[in-house]
């Protein structure tokens, strides 16, 4: 924190995962992608990526298949709402308790 020049003491940060903390812990429901319905996964083509486009936290990757970073995904459900092929379902976070316990080991 330096204050040598005017206007340097401002709220400015680099965008990146983790700027808001590990927001994955906020999640009550988890988006899960059914790869048999997902357009890029099904066709093997770099197409659609509606989930990547709409995710407000940039935690969906623009890859084939798209992947969700659960460390930062808050579980807002926008991807599931927007997916044109209904490939994303919101499932209770509690049903993943074993995975979560494994992650925390």
């Amino acid at each position: 924190m330096k204050n040598d020049d005017f206007g340097c003491m401002i709220s400015k940060s680099e965008p990146g995962p983790g700027d808001g903390g590990r927001t994955g812990s906020w999640r009550v429901q988890r988006p899960v992608i059914d790869l048999t319905k997902c357009i890029p996964a099904k066709t093997g083509k770099a197409a659609c990526f509606t989930c990547w486009l709409f995710c407000p936290d940039a935690v969906v990757s623009k890859t084939i298949p798209p992947k969700i970073d659960y460390v930062y995904c808050k579980g807002c459900g926008i991807c599931a709402e927007e997916c044109p092929s209904g490939a994303i379902s919101m499932e209770d976070e509690s049903s993943f308790i074993h995975d979560i316990m494994k992650e925390n080991k």
Partner: protein
């Protein structure tokens, strides 16, 4: 080149000479001719600027915030309730440290509805983190607008240039228009300290936690209090910058020299009248008359209201017998805001003058020279009896006081 034009045209000419890049404004009396003139400049091609018509003053300031964040030199103007409608965005612009320049063409605030002049609009915004400069005539309007851009951009703080509605905005006076090439060398192109840059993406002014915390790279990022402390410190430091800018303007254009306070016949005065805006020039007639009658009295206009030049106030007023603050605004339920600020500045001084407060001209109530003369004369003759309660000048239908 000399022009004989209105105060609003003086302001618009200053904005044009400053090569502003974005103007977003909503018309409101008595500011309207200023924004009309700017839109004419843009339409005829003499001002290369984006003129963005908006549906409200709140939107005007929101557009200015966006344009300034993108690194452009940005201007708007408003009056009275229009300024109040911007309120939330005004605080944002200051906290975000955006060097927007805005003319506030001073007008009283409704209710009851009024379109005439007083200072309640800009005074009500004194605590928001904007620098406030007051111009007393047309020459000061055009000069102050040009200086305001350089000040705002040097210190990254938005600046209001305030001048009296009608008394200055709609009256015609001769003023000198600086040459464009001289203004260009005085005011170089805006080189923003921070801006939105697609090559280097940043988050600005997102939720900032109460405490400091590491950012994504592990560097310690300031918390809300550090950022607000920075604004305050930079406001205080901007007084030195204003002094330098005024000096450099004086060297280039031969005008200026009193960026904080403008004293008139104060040096040997026992009594000093203090006021904001064109009232301080009106008051000079009264000072001359009382001087001719042998009363040692002067008047001091306050050009810089925020940051408050408290040390300059103390230097100017310590040792005087009395100080009279005449104000076209009021902190309702207390006293005049300027009066309270001056009284507070004088608290620590050992040779403390007697001080009194006069409220006048609200909602454009005519200020007669005779009223000023009587009030100043009475205050000079019996400064001990004036008391701390504001006295209302020109009040009818009830007892004065």
């Amino acid at each position: 080149m000399h022009l004989i034009e209105s105060g609003n045209v003086a302001a618009a000419t200053g904005v044009k000479l400053s090569r502003v890049q974005v103007v977003a404004a909503y018309p409101i009396t008595p500011q309207t001719p200023l924004t009309e003139k700017l839109s004419e400049f843009v339409a005829e091609g003499s001002l290369d600027s984006e003129y963005i018509p908006v549906e409200s003053e709140h939107s005007a300031m929101a557009v200015c915030i966006a344009a300034s964040s993108a690194g452009t030199r940005t201007f708007t103007a408003t009056s009275a309730n229009g300024l109040l409608y911007m309120n939330e965005q005004l605080h944002w612009a200051a906290g975000a440290r955006l060097p927007i320049v805005m003319c506030v063409v001073n007008r009283g605030i409704g209710a009851p509805w009024t379109v005439w002049n007083d200072h309640q609009d800009s005074i009500s915004q004194r605590d928001g983190g904007w620098i406030q400069l007051y111009a007393n005539d047309h020459q000061q309007i055009i000069d102050t607008v040009i200086k305001a851009f350089r000040l705002a951009e040097t210190v990254s703080i938005p600046v209001m240039v305030c001048y009296d509605g009608y008394l200055l905005s709609h009256t015609y006076m001769p003023f000198d228009t600086p040459d464009q090439d001289k203004v260009d060398s005085f005011l170089p192109a805006f080189n923003p300290i921070n801006k939105l840059d697609p090559e280097n993406p940043s988050n600005f002014n997102s939720v900032t936690l109460p405490d400091v915390r590491p950012d994504v790279r592990g560097n310690m990022a300031p918390g809300y209090m550090e950022i607000r402390h920075g604004l305050h410190q930079d406001m205080r430091r901007s007084m030195d910058v204003l002094q330098e800018i005024d000096q450099s303007f004086f060297e280039e254009f031969g005008r200026g020299g009193n960026p904080f306070l403008e004293p008139y016949r104060c040096d040997d005065a026992d009594h000093v009248v203090v006021c904001l805006g064109s009232l301080s020039y009106h008051m000079r007639d009264v000072i001359d008359e009382l001087r001719a009658e042998g009363t040692a009295v002067g008047v001091m206009g306050v050009q810089l209201y925020r940051p408050f030049p408290d040390q300059a106030i103390v230097d100017a007023l310590a040792g005087k017998r009395s100080v009279m603050v005449f104000e076209k605004a009021l902190s309702y339920g207390n006293q005049g805001a300027l009066y309270a600020d001056i009284k507070s500045a004088l608290y620590t001084c050992t040779e403390r003058p007697l001080i009194c407060n006069h409220i006048l001209g609200l909602g454009g109530r005519e200020i007669k020279t005779k009223h000023l003369y009587d009030a100043v004369k009475q205050s000079c003759e019996n400064p001990e009896t004036m008391g701390d309660t504001p006295r209302w000048i020109g009040l009818k239908c009830q007892d004065n006081g």
